[in-house]
Each structure stands twice: as structure tokens, then as C-alpha cells.
Symmetry: C2
Subunit: 237 residues, 2 copies
DNA sequence: CGAGCAGTTGAACCGAGTCAAGGGGAGTGG
DNA sequence: CCACTCCCCTTGACTCGGTTCAACTGCTCG
């Protein structure tokens, strides 16, 4: 068993060998032969922060960086409806009825495949279909969490919940009692568009959290939390 | 081809023959043999309005009625995060991290299968996996639509959007210019919990829509719209 | 050094929430 | 058949959290 795994390992394309997407992303579902086939059709590219990622029917592993998904109302009001952090992946087999825009918040590295290959493989391996379904259901659960936040939380609970989300994403296994610091990949405007608030309110709530010692604002973009537990108390759920 | 279809048709279990779920629901993916196998393991039941539907690991076609999905904050604040209308279906292969409660809003008729059968069939037929994925992505798109509404719409836009959703669900193919009327399957409290408002605000906004002629409130539960187009104007998107 | 942008802070305002009173229909009991 | 109650809903008056408008700070970049 171990031997066979090693043989397969030997065939893994060089480019995939150290790729995070094989641990937690889409590619965990593939064996060496399939990876080799995919690698032939894949293209790796990097785009700078601010680039819009067109929904051109490709699937992409997000190797590094953060992507936001937004919905706009007719008069320009904007709501961020989701994020993708590495090593997440982007792309879907069915079009959304109302358009959703994807935009890189930071510099982003992607590894993309034509949709046709993934769709074909999904027909051949139920394992992959299951992974896609699991991924979609995860996104659904997250969306529903934020529905509850948007509909029922106060401004300060929203901001606290947001910081907790980023912290968790920075280090999922972090000890709840020890401090943690991270860079915010978002401007105040983006945070406001995610939380359904104005930038002024976001700024004020961050100041309040700072003045009561829950967070330190190292600089505009870098935050450190006294502890996960401390911020969790303020999330309302 | 037509002949073969008729042969299959002959084998369709009696109970499935006139079932809506074969048109638009889960069972559209199955052939007669598979339906027969499923029918043996399925159980049909009805529950009255107000019943909680435990997440017991079954999949269910919703034959009639409306179901709400809710998330609660620790202090009792409630947010409705989704609805299921017939002939939708309920159930999912992976547990949500945070609990979501399902409750019948009206009397509800269900046709349920053990999870094991669906999961096994999904492994055998990519068609079914695809359907489950499509369904999950639909729910995701809906959740994101409502995120935008919750975060960025005014109270009156929220109420208008809600009425439009119910109207569309009542008659998806309705002509946009002609009037339409329907029963609200929800109390004011449920509407408020869905829109992130209070019952007083919902009531006031309905009154405003009535006084400017966009809707008629036949009685507390029955609404008629002057037209789909008219209400659509007030949705903000 | 100045321009320009992101963020902060203050003051006034307003949309939706809160609190309170009353309406109206369904069910029950006399 | 009416009287009473209960629940859901509506409406009004007031409050308040979050927005709006505006001034100011501090960075970064040319």
C-alpha cells in the first residue's frame, strides 16, 4: 500500500508536488495519472490586486491571495457576498442567474483548467463530484452565516465577527487564548461592503474595540487580537 | 425512442406517476427501475404547520407546502436563511458546522428516502451528483441574492423583493404586466425574520405599498399585486 | 513640498426600532 | 346569537443606532 503510493508519488507532475491545492483544494481528489493529464491542460498565472476575474468558464485553484465576490444593486450599492482564500478554488458548472463579480483583493496566483476537463472527470469519478458538492455546501453554509449576521447583528457584532473570520482563516488551528495578528486584505470600504455598513461605522467600531483592549491596530491594515476567545464573545452567536 | 419511453413509463411505480418531483424535483434524474427501487425504501408522510423537521439524515421531496430554514443567535434573535417550496427537496450529505433548523410553515407533505440510498446512487450515476450540485448552487445563488438585500436594501425594497419572490414562486411563468394574487405562507413575524426587520416595519411598508396602489391586501394573508413589473421597480435591483 | 487618497472623528440627521394602544377575526362558552 | 378572549396585526409617538455630511490626520508618491 505504502509502496504503491510511492510509485504514484513519483509520477506526480513537478509543478503539483508542493502545491497546497493537493492538500486542501480541488486536486486532493486526483491520483498521479489524473494530475498529469490535468497539468498538461492547466495554466498558471498571477494577477495584481484589483483585477477582475472574468467568469470565463474555467476552474481555478487559488494558490495565494484573496478574492472577493460582489453583487451590485442598480444604483451602485454594493454587497460582498463571499470571499475565496487560498487554497480554495473558483469556478462552477452552472451560471448564476444574476451576475456575480469576482475581483482580486490582493495579488493572486491561480492555476486554471478548462471547464470541459473537470466536467468530464466529474462524470468519471464520483469522488470529484462529491468534492465539488461538499465545496458548494460549505459556501452555502458560510453565506447563511453571513445572512444571519447581516440581518440580525449590530454593527459592533458584525465587525467582531469579521475579524474573527479573518483570524480563523489566517490560522485555523490557533489556540483560542493566545494573541494573534494578521494583515487585513481589505480596505475599510470593502469591509463596509461586506458587513452592510458604512466605512465611518466600521472605523468607529474598530476604534471602540481598540479602546477597550480587544484589539490593537498596529497600522491601518495590520490588526492583532488579544485572543480569539475575547473577540468571539463579541460576535453575538 | 418514444416506444422505449412508454415501456419505461409502464414500470414507473404508481405512487410516482403523478408526482411533481419527477418533473422539477430530485426524481427527474431516475429511470423507472431506479424509481421502483427508491419507492420501496421511501415513505410518504404529512406534518402540520409548525412542525420542526429534524435533520435526521434523510432526503425528502417536498410534495406540497413551504418550509423555512432558520439560524439563531445566542440571545434568541432569529434569521430565516432560506425557504423550500414544493417540489423542492431537502437533505444534504454533509453536516453544517452551525445548526440550521427546518420548520414547516404550512401543512407539508414529504416523500423521504434514507440517505444511504441516495448517496450510493450518486456514486453510480454522475447525473444524480450533477443534479445535487446544481441544486446546491441554486440555493447558494439565492442565499447571495438575499445577502445583498439584507445588507444593502431599504425596508421597503426588502418587502417588495419578498413579495416578488413569493409571486414568482406561485407562478414562475406569470405575465409581467398582469395582476396576480396569492396567499402568504408566512406570518408577519416570519417575514420580519426573513428580511431582518421588525414586524412593525413590515406592517408599515405593506401599508405604504397598499396606499400607493402597488398591492391590495385582501386580508392579512392574501395579497394581490397590480403587476409583477410594478413590484419589480421597487426592488432596487 | 504639495497633491491625493485612506482612514478617523465629530455633529446633525433620519430610517428603522421600541414602546404602547387599539383593531379585527377566529374560536369558545354562555 | 352574542360576549369574551386570544392572537395577529396595524398604527402612532418617541428613541436610538447607524448614516450623512464635513473637517481633519497621516501616508505615500510624484
Amino acid at each position: 500500500m505504502a509502496a504503491r503510493q510511492d510509485v504514484q508519488q513519483a509520477d506526480v507532475p513537478a509543478i503539483c508536488k508542493s502545491c497546497e491545492a493537493r492538500q486542501d483544494g480541488l486536486c486532493g481528489a486526483f491520483n498521479a495519472r489524473q494530475l498529469a493529464e490535468l497539468a498538461k491542460a492547466s495554466s498558471r498565472h498571477e494577477v495584481p490586486a484589483g483585477t477582475e476575474l472574468p467568469d470565463d468558464g474555467t476552474y481555478s485553484n487559488l494558490l495565494s491571495g484573496v478574492v472577493k465576490l460582489t453583487r451590485n444593486l442598480s444604483d451602485g450599492r454594493q454587497q460582498i457576498v463571499g470571499f475565496h482564500f487560498a487554497p480554495d478554488f473558483l469556478g462552477r458548472p452552472f451560471e448564476a442567474k444574476k451576475p456575480i463579480r469576482a475581483e482580486a483583493l490582493t495579488n493572486v496566483a491561480l492555476c486554471s483548467f478548462p471547464r470541459a476537463i473537470i466536467d468530464r472527470m466529474a462524470n468519471e469519478m464520483p469522488e470529484l463530484g462529491r468534492l465539488l458538492l461538499k465545496h458548494a455546501l460549505n459556501e452555502l453554509d458560510e453565506a447563511r452565516d453571513w445572512m444571519a449576521a447581516l440581518g440580525r447583528k449590530t454593527a459592533s457584532e458584525k465587525v467582531a465577527s469579521f475579524l474573527l473570520m479573518v483570524a480563523r482563516n489566517t490560522d485555523p488551528a490557533h489556540h483560542p487564548a493566545s494573541p494573534i495578528s494578521f494583515d487585513l486584505p481589505l480596505t475599510r470600504t470593502d469591509i463596509a461592503d461586506f458587513l452592510g455598513l458604512t466605512i465611518e461605522t466600521v472605523s468607529r467600531e474598530l476604534s471602540r474595540l481598540r479602546s477597550d483592549g480587544t484589539i490593537r491596530i498596529v497600522n491601518k491594515r495590520q490588526i492583532s487580537l488579544a485572543s480569539m476567545a475575547r473577540i468571539e464573545e463579541r460576535c453575538g452567536d
